[in-house]
Symmetry: C2
Subunit: 314 residues, 2 copies
């Protein structure tokens, strides 16, 4: 059996034909510029889907169904894309529109949730009964999978772990509140922390890797730490503390079998993962001698959303 | 069909025969002193069960099964009571022991989780697909129900919402860390906040309702507030802020259909509930015009655990 998975981002619509072993056997991609009409958006999705089918050498009708991941608020029950700031679209009957265009049953879900499902079906959390996927990027995204299915809560937006306040009155967050975890542990926050440390330490090696503050990336402190820079080591240490602090809170609530860390910062690998595991272990709530959630790095990257979408009803 | 539900506390073992309409038709109770042997514990449970059956005028064999709620870490899969500080018991094959004594299939779960299931089956969250039950007592307990069943995570201890740190480095918590929500929003925390306010305000009306600091209860500031005391009003206001702060964090993660507030403090009713709803509404993460979790007071009180236990496999 084949499945069609689609991942709609703010700049690209990606499509994949996925087989029963969760291999991607055909791909399509269409550029999408926010601000285009909902009609165009649906046509572009259909175009990406046909490209993927052509690439795989199959017909769309060979697919069991089409799964669609979109940023924003998605009503999986009604098939409505209720609100997406990234796409500039609201109240679109996406399920019905795409069913008409593709001739397939359509299942839709939030894109971060699809990525979480992808990691459970084929990635770092493969086979887990419960998993939390944490994406460290511009913000902190979260996707929860329970019993092999996405858990999206009563309104489709469960998993907004980034807007858990951990320092009341602290750093400003893009959501309008202060002290959110996202304002301390996203890639954006790491860059801000790095810039502040560089300004206070004109002799830090970080200036070698980022000659001006606008060149700072999430990699900067990690690279400089490996080169022996003490200021960079402090930035990394403090960032991992913030990351662990919020993660322990979510683990205490959900106790998932696997926690997957994805997003740009997770590229750092073991220098991020090993101290993170150690700090979470020292802080999490324990009673007796229990199994504890495994913390792993996400492995599917950009394909997690495609595979998860394709597996929405598998 | 009848069901046998048992709620094992640190001082009492309560049993109930529950009918299909979730009415309790017979009750039994045996005092239990922690420190007694696991053998005694099991015999006492059986005695409470027989009392309940006698009270209902039925045979134990008329029940479909027995559901058991215990404080501590319970492995629902293996039927093991792995660790219970309150009962002073660990590694007890409770399922097997009780099956032998009662001749019924046994299902076991954590007692807070049973109480949450009870509220979903027959209380304030009746019929909800997802619910969070928050118990404001000595600590803050949490129970999560998803899809009509208890969600206990990989190790049986999901829902430890009280040990979410909201003020890093803040008040000491019984768990050994600092700044846990429980240290700000449990009944114990409310009493501490009340005492501190009284010490700083010798003319507060709270001294009328609690003539000495050891007489302070969770009711003290609420009663004095109603009598017009400004210091008490500040204590209540600040307490509800702490409560809302943590609750919003959990709501952003779980977005349950219903949030039930139970435990001693919830006795205060609307003077607690109405401002709490308002503050949660002003702080929670929203996108578009979405359904939001309903916040309600728990309604079943001590019976929630009994009914939830009885419904563990219904």
């Amino acid at each position: 059996m084949l499945y069609l998975g689609i991942d709609c981002g703010g700049s690209n619509i990606a499509a994949a034909i996925v087989d029963e072993s969760m291999n991607i056997v055909g791909r399509g991609k269409v550029k999408f510029a926010p601000g285009r009409s909902a009609e165009c958006f649906c046509d572009d999705i259909a175009a990406a889907a046909r490209m993927a089918a052509d690439d795989a050498g199959v017909q769309l009708s060979d697919c069991a169904y089409c799964g669609l991941g979109c940023p924003g608020v998605v009503n999986s029950g009604s098939g409505m894309l209720e609100y997406s700031a990234n796409l500039g679209i609201e109240n679109l009957s996406l399920g019905a529109e795409m069913e008409r265009r593709l001739g397939l049953s359509i299942y839709i879900a939030n894109d971060a949730n699809c990525a979480a499902l992808g990691e459970v079906k084929a990635g770092a959390a493969k086979g887990a009964d419960s998993a939390l996927v944490v994406t460290l990027g511009t913000g902190i995204g979260g996707g929860i999978v329970i019993g092999g299915r996405i858990y999206a809560g009563v309104n489709g937006i469960a998993g907004e772990i980034g807007h858990m306040v951990i320092f009341p009155g602290g750093e400003e967050c893009s959501c309008g509140r202060r002290g959110c975890w996202e304002a301390y542990a996203s890639a954006t926050a790491l860059k801000r922390q790095t810039r502040r440390a560089m300004e206070a330490a004109p002799d830090s090696l970080m200036w070698k890797y980022a000659p001006s503050l606008d060149k700072v990336s999430g990699k900067t402190p990690f690279v400089a730490q490996r080169a022996g820079d003490a200021t960079a080591a402090l930035v990394v240490d403090s960032y991992i503390n913030y990351l662990a602090l919020g993660l322990v809170n979510v683990i205490n609530i959900l106790q998932p079998e696997v926690v997957c860390i994805g997003g740009g910062v997770s590229n750092e690998g073991d220098p991020l993962l090993l101290p993170l595991r150690e700090r979470v272990e020292s802080m999490r709530f324990v009673r007796g001698n229990l199994r504890h959630p495994r913390i792993e790095l996400a492995t599917l990257w950009g394909d997690a959303g495609l595979i998860g979408a394709a597996m929405l009803d598998a």
